[in-house]
């Protein structure tokens, strides 16, 4: 939750830090700071001072640095790869500074992204386990993608089941807390799209969600914070359709 709140704040102030003047100021401060003491955590302190995510600050400065060096706006991929592996950064001092930032950032940066990704993945695996345990056959995301589906939830149930009386065709695992803004974004980008293609489904917010958000049950988007226990499967005799 903290992380999500923090992200919101960062998003709000994002623009502020991306004005040309701000960038220039940051860069100059960085240069001055490094001149004085290359070993000091200049960038990190700067970020903390202006209340901005360190890795994003690192990105701003790196971008600016490369721009000066290459006389051209550097490509996103280049920047990303440098952030991921600062040893690619031509300037050793900056590399260290950047690395310090990424390591010390609790919400942004490649490392955190990776942790998030890993958590997500782990929960998917857990979910898969539970599905297998319940003997519910499913098609996983990668299989779906291989078949050419354009939007793919984590799991599509080959035989739909009813959870708490609602029929679901797919399950999406979200290793986060379902707050209003993230849920709206997910609805827009993912859940409704799944619904549009596969019918109603279930979203599991493993870290809970705001109860009021579970308002689309009737329409076919069910929210849970754990694997459901009330599952009704199709009996074999009715297994048609």
């Amino acid at each position: 939750i903290f992380s999500q709140e923090y992200q919101k704040q960062i998003k709000r102030t994002h623009a502020k830090h991306h004005t040309a003047e701000a960038i220039e100021t940051y860069y100059q401060r960085y240069l001055n700071g490094v001149m004085k003491n290359a070993a000091a955590p200049v960038l990190l302190d700067l970020a903390n001072e202006v209340d901005f995510a360190p890795s994003l600050m690192a990105r701003i400065v790196l971008e600016r640095f490369l721009q000066e060096k290459e006389q051209a706006i550097p490509s996103k991929t280049l920047i990303n790869s440098m952030l991921r592996d600062p040893s690619q950064i031509p300037d050793g001092v900056l590399a260290n500074q950047v690395y310090q930032c990424t390591v010390n950032d609790c919400c942004y940066g490649p490392l955190v992204d990776c942790i998030k990704h890993a958590i997500g993945h782990e929960h998917e695996v857990l979910l898969r386990e539970m599905l297998l345990e319940k003997n519910l056959s499913f098609i996983a995301e990668d299989q779906l993608r291989a078949k050419g589906y354009d939007k793919t939830p984590d799991f599509i149930l080959e035989v739909p089941v009813a959870v708490e009386g609602h029929i679901i065709h797919w399950i999406e695992s979200k290793a986060s807390f379902g707050d209003e803004s993230s849920h709206q974004a997910y609805l827009q980008d993912q859940f409704w799209s799944y619904w549009n293609r596969f019918g109603p489904g279930l979203v599991i917010y493993w870290y809970g969600f705001i109860e009021e958000l579970d308002c689309h049950r009737e329409r076919g988007i069910l929210l849970k914070d754990c694997f459901p226990t009330d599952i009704v499967t199709l009996r074999h005799s009715m297994a048609q359709r």
Binding site: R84, I89, G92, A95, N96, Y99, A118, I167, N196, R197
Partner: protein
């Protein structure tokens, strides 16, 4: 004619022998005569009779206080337009509109018809045109349940459409009984009553199925017609009208004709129901039974002869009579001596409730055949009806019986769980789109479409919500995008599928829509006493109607969304594609195989049920699709008003040249020929119900209507009763639709007639044995029931899609003649087998064939693709070759092996086909039949599969290989994904309990360590050695358990540990040794290094053994990481060397690699002392490894080299 009728009744000289003779005539020779007589009957007498009844009963039904009766007077008095007006207002508020614009229609306007404007006046358009046009009689009739039309007397020339402008404001039919009022035109026919003598000689037939005596009626009506043609009508008519007017006024004293805009129901609602007790109808109080009996017979025979345009209207009327409520005045009148006089005058047979009920019960009795087929719930209501019980115990008994035997139930509404169209890779994946862009845009469009739909669902019922205003721009933007990427066909398909998906429901919508009770119905049945009958009446409605027996075509529920979408989109391209899509689907469904079942066979029950279900689903879908097709097709021609004759002529001249989008005439003829019009007619009716004003006059549609009319008139004894009923019901409805000209039913148009005669011979013969296909009585019960049940109808709830099984035949190997023989033999084989066998075989063939293709894809092709992947990997590594060329090369190589597909496919079919057939056919099937069926199935399946494979295998391989190759090239970061992929497929060690810590947790912890190491850190912040050691141990566990690992996690772990190693050797990790440290504090250096060495050793082993991905250890030698070392206060060269050796030892890096790294590192601008040390270290390293001396204990070595390095520095 009125006089004639009254004379007939009074003198009990009833012409009811009717057509009994006709039958003996032998229809073949006398078709013409008969038709003439029919048309005459139809044209004049029937309408007259119907109107007569309406008029007679109007008082009873209108006067009853609980009924919001209003306009018994809506006869042709100018001042009486109030009735219609009111209803218009009412209708506007209560009806589902065909068009969204609501223009207030004032009573008395004469819009003829079907136009947004009129339609919005409730169903006014509907009644309007039907009232207005052709024959006066018909007009009255149609208005029966509809609305009293107030036509000025001067317009009574029945034969002239223009002179008889329809009542615009007539607010379509509402459920109120009060509506059946006949406008004065009735009387128009009175002066024509001269041939009354014609009927005098015919005795009353006792048979309920009494038929018109053809002989007499023929003459009679010829005469009538002649009379009719003369324009002498007016005078007597006028008198008559005046008379009636007075009468009506006198009857309706208390009635307030004012307040034209007041919705009718308010009035009725304001009446406290208890104050108006329903008259208790008593058989004892019935007067002039004989006359009523005559009328009932007459009326029944009209129904039986299909002379009424809409059976259900008549039934509805009868039920209204049955449930009519008398007023006190009526009661009084009953005992009034005057009444007898009136009766004598022949006009007031229906003055009392008792009479009405008597009449209704009589008619019901005659129509028992139809009634008995109604839905069970209705039968129950009828059987429980007290009036029926008291008036006709026998009918009551029969109804009870029918109820008990009835199985016809309205299928329950199953809320369908899926409301979206599922994504089908076969049609929806990337390969179906010309470009990535088109694919992605369509992906978005699909989502936008549903977004719109949801928005509509949420808001459309809110007041002030306007479809076009809110969604219009979004839709148009979407259309623009569709056009830009040529995605219309995909979207049209989605649209069409979604339409079927959503509108299969009862009112064409989900469970939430259309459930609101109809206010009209509630008003009509305000009294508690009759509440049971409310349901009855509610149900007694024609197809599609929830709001009355003959609503105009409308788009209820979700259909509204689709209609508005089309209108808002206003896209020619979209409409065109939509029409294509609709036509295709219609043809597909129309081609559904209808199978005949012997109803005696109990075992066929299940099949039969399925078949019915299939049929119902198909029929409902067809009707829906056809309605929308009609809507789109006729949309450009829709006009607000009936065009003038001139405009019409020029439009006809223009439009006669174009071909219709869908050749419904051909389909109709085909269906009649193939005896499947039961499926085709209902949807053609839907299609035609949306015609514009001109279309029915086009040559093409004239023929269609003519043919349809023929279906009504043909009395085909062999046709299944229920089928016939269904067809009559839908056609009856069609002829009531506003834009369908009246004359189509009561036609006297010469041309039309001739046409009919032309086709009679061809069509008639076919019609004769038409529908025997559905000889089973129950065939349509469900369907009919659902139709009849109004609200329950159109439900389906079935989600199953019907796809006709067609096995494409492929390139013949044998000669043509041989092949043909084979085909013939095959057909012959099936001919004498139960039809299910054929379906099974076709089904198996289709499925096995398609499974075969899938199997080949999954096995052979997948293998080939793997091969290709390996080949490509090798070659891509070698050098930068041209990818396309490389791909081509590899594919060509694979094509040869692809040829195996055919062999394997054949094998597959041979194995699977018989299995499936055996399982699906009954156990008892004889061996010979079984083996034949098997072989045919195998043959068909093989043909299907191999045909496809041989044509597509090469392309398939190429596509798959290409896709894999692209994936291969795209995998980020790792140039050799093949190796990784292989490695990643590693499984957990045997017996793994999967209880290792999660990767995310480990990354997180390592991150913390790195945080501390990289700084900034607080004073005294340390990393506990034991803890770190333990962490690495857990890392090892985590890496070994593959369950929760994903590539990114693993790569990140690799990077982090490399970083950690760098930091360790640079002394950047503030290790706290805990308890261990004091022990060996005397040898500080060793103590301090040993634990780090231990950690490094742990890392080596983890990198080497536990990682499935390759660890970027070379990063240790990167400029940045060496920087850590350079900055270290006390450079730990020995540790570094130890690290390098470890790397070599564990084969994590090659010596040469390290050497070159060191070499290039030395080039960089380091502090000079660092460079010196580095060079020295390089030398040591090189010397060690050039000698390739046998490995010594690494610890010793460390110490040795440490010594050398330190001494040298």
């Amino acid at each position: 004619m009125y006089a004639m009728l009254s004379v007939l009744i009074r003198k009990k000289l009833l012409p009811l022998r009717t057509f009994s003779e006709t039958e003996t005539w032998g229809s073949e020779n006398h078709i013409h005569d008969r038709l003439v007589s029919l048309s005459l009957l139809q044209k004049d007498f029937v309408p007259f009779l119907l109107n007569f009844l309406r008029e007679q009963t109007s008082q009873i039904l209108t006067n009853g206080p609980p009924t919001p009766a209003k306009t018994p007077n809506s006869k042709a008095h100018g001042g009486q337009r109030t009735g219609p007006e009111r209803r218009t207002g009412h209708a506007t508020s209560s009806r589902v509109q065909l068009f969204s614009q609501r223009t207030p229609v004032t009573a008395g306007t004469t819009d003829t018809s079907f136009s947004p404007a009129t339609a919005s006046g409730g169903s006014s358009s509907f009644s309007g045109s039907s009232l207005g046009s052709w024959s006066g009689g018909r007009r009255k009739r149609s208005e029966v349940p509809l609305v009293p039309a107030s036509s000025p007397p001067s317009q009574l020339n029945l034969n002239n459409l223009e002179e008889f402008p329809p009542m615009g404001a007539a607010s379509g039919w509402t459920n109120k009984p009060s509506r059946r009022i006949n406008p004065t035109p009735v009387s128009a026919e009175r002066p024509l009553s001269k041939p009354k003598t014609c009927f005098t000689s015919t005795p009353v037939s006792q048979s309920p199925a009494a038929r018109w005596a053809a002989g007499s009626s023929l003459e009679a009506f010829t005469a009538v017609q002649e009379g009719n043609l003369s324009s002498v009508i007016s005078n007597s008519l006028q008198e008559e009208r005046e008379m009636l007017k007075k009468e009506r006024y006198s009857l309706r004293i208390s009635f307030d004709p004012g307040t034209p805009t007041k919705p009718s129901y308010t009035r009725s609602a304001s009446l406290p129901p208890e104050s108006h007790l329903v008259t208790c109808a008593s058989p004892a109080k019935v007067s002039c039974k004989k006359q009523l009996e005559c009328l009932a017979q007459l009326y029944s025979s009209c129904i039986a002869e299909n002379l009424v345009p809409n059976i259900f209207l008549e039934l509805f009327f009868i039920l209204q009579l049955l449930t009519s409520k008398g007023t006190s005045t009526a009661e009084d009148g009953d005992s009034d001596p005057e009444i007898s006089e009136r009766i004598v005058s022949g006009r007031q047979h229906f003055e009392s409730v008792h009479n009405c009920v008597y009449f209704a019960v009589r008619v019901l009795d005659y129509q028992y055949e139809i009634i008995s087929h109604l839905e069970k719930g209705m039968l129950k209501l009828l059987a429980e009806n007290e009036r029926i019980a008291s008036f006709s115990p026998t009918l009551h008994k029969r109804l009870r019986q029918a109820y008990e035997n009835s199985t016809a139930k309205v299928s329950l509404l199953l809320p369908c769980s899926v409301q979206s169209v599922s994504f089908q890779p076969e049609t929806d994946n990337r390969s179906n789109f010309p470009s990535d862009r088109a694919f992605h845009i369509f992906k978005k469009q699909r989502d936008i479409f549903y977004e719109l739909l949801r928005e509509w669902e949420d808001n459309h019922e809110k007041t002030g919500w306007d479809f076009d205003r809110v969604l219009g721009n979004k839709i148009r933007a979407m259309m623009a995008h569709l056009s830009a990427t040529c995605n219309h066909s995909h979207f049209a398909r989605l649209f069409q599928k979604q339409l079927i998906q959503m509108c299969k429901g009862p009112v064409g919508g989900g469970a939430n829509w259309g459930d609101t009770p109809d206010q009209d119905v509630l008003n009509m049945l305000g009294s508690d006493n009759l509440s049971r009958l409310k349901r009855l009446q509610e149900r007694f409605v024609v197809p599609q109607s929830i709001r009355g027996p003959c609503p105009p075509p409308s788009f209820p529920g979700c259909q509204q969304f689709f209609r508005d979408f089309i209108l808002s989109a206003g896209s020619y391209q979209f409409n065109q594609h939509l029409m294509d899509s609709l036509c295709l689907k219609i043809l597909e469904l129309n081609g559904l195989t209808l199978v005949e079942h012997e109803h005696s066979d109990g075992e066929a029950d299940m099949e039969e049920q399925d078949e019915k279900k299939r049929f119902t689903v198909a029929l409902l879908s067809l009707r829906l699709l056809a309605k929308f097709l009609g809507f789109v097709v006729f949309l450009p021609y829709r006009t607000a008003e009936q065009p003038t004759r001139d405009l019409q002529d020029s439009a006809l001249a223009l439009r006669n040249q174009t071909l219709p989008v869908l050749d419904i005439l051909k389909l109709l003829r085909q269906s009649i020929r193939d005896q499947r019009s039961i499926l085709t007619i209902p949807w053609i009716v839907e299609y035609l119900s949306l015609v514009d004003h001109i279309a029915p006059f086009l040559d093409y549609y004239r023929k269609v209507f003519g043919l349809l009319l023929l279906m009504v008139l043909s009395e085909d004894k062999e046709m299944s009763f229920l089928n016939k009923l269904l067809i009559l019901a839908v056609l009856g409805w069609l002829f009531q639709v506003p834009s369908v000209p009246e004359e189509l039913f009561f036609t006297t148009d010469d041309r039309q007639e001739r046409f009919m005669l032309d086709t009679v011979t061809s069509a008639r013969a076919l019609v004769d044995d038409c529908f025997c296909i559905f000889s089973c009585t129950g065939e349509l019960r469900k369907l009919l029931a659902s139709f009849v049940a109004g609200s329950g109808g159109k439900n389906g709830g079935f989600i199953r899609k019907i796809t006709p099984t067609a096995a494409e035949s492929l390139a013949p190997k044998a000669s043509v003649t041989q092949r043909k023989l084979q085909v013939d033999l095959e057909q012959a084989f099936f001919h004498n087998q139960p039809p299910s066998l054929r379906r099974t075989v076709e089904f198996v063939a289709e499925r096995v064939g398609s499974n075969c293709v899938k199997h080949i894809k999954a096995t052979l092709v997948a293998e080939l693709v793997q091969q290709a992947e390996a080949m490509l990997q090798d070659k891509v590594k070698e050098e930068d070759v041209n990818h396309d060329k490389l791909l081509e090369e590899v594919c060509t190589h694979l094509y040869e092996e692809g040829a195996q597909a055919l062999i394997k496919g054949r094998e597959f079919c041979k194995k699977k086909g018989p299995e499936a057939v055996r399982v699906l056919l009954p156990e008892e099937t004889s061996a010979a039949v079984l083996s034949s069926a098997e072989s045919i199935a195998v043959e068909l399946a093989t043909e299907r599969a191999c045909g496809w494979l041989s044509a597509n295998i090469a392309a398939l391989i190429k596509r798959e290989v290409k896709a894999t190759f692209n994936r291969m090239l795209k995998v980020p970061g790792f140039p050799l994904p093949g190796e990784d992929a292989l490695e990643l497929r590693r499984d957990c060690p045997p017996g793994c309990q999967h209880c290792a810590p999660f990767p995310s947790q480990i990354i997180n912890e390592i991150k913390d360590v790195l945080c501390v190491a990289v700084g900034p850190r607080e004073e005294g912040e340390v990393v506990d050695f034991v803890w770190l050691e333990c962490l690495l141990g857990r890392l090892s566990q985590t890496l070994r358990c593959r369950k929760f690992m994903c590539p990114t996690s693993e790569q990140q772990l690799a990077k982090c540990t490399v970083e950690l190693a760098s930091l360790l050797v640079s002394d950047r990790v503030p290790l706290s040794l805990g308890i261990k440290s004091p022990e060996k504090s005397h040898e500080r250096l060793r103590v301090k290094n040993n634990p780090t060495c231990g950690l490094l050793k742990l890392l080596f082993s983890i990198w080497k053994e536990d990682f499935g991905t390759c660890v970027p250890v070379q990063l240790i030698l990167s400029k940045k990481n060496m920087g850590y070392l350079a900055e270290a206060k006390q450079r730990e060269w020995d540790l570094f060397l130890f690290l390098l050796r470890g790397l070599i030892e564990h084969e994590l890096m090659r010596t040469s690699e390290i050497q070159s790294c060191l070499h290039s590192l030395a080039e960089l601008p380091w502090p000079s002392d660092f460079v010196k040390d580095l060079k020295r270290l390089s030398r040591v390293f090189v010397s060690e490894h050039q000698i390739e001396e046998p490995r010594i204990n690494s610890c010793e070595l460390t110490r040795q080299s440490l010594a050398t390095v330190t001494t040298q520095s």
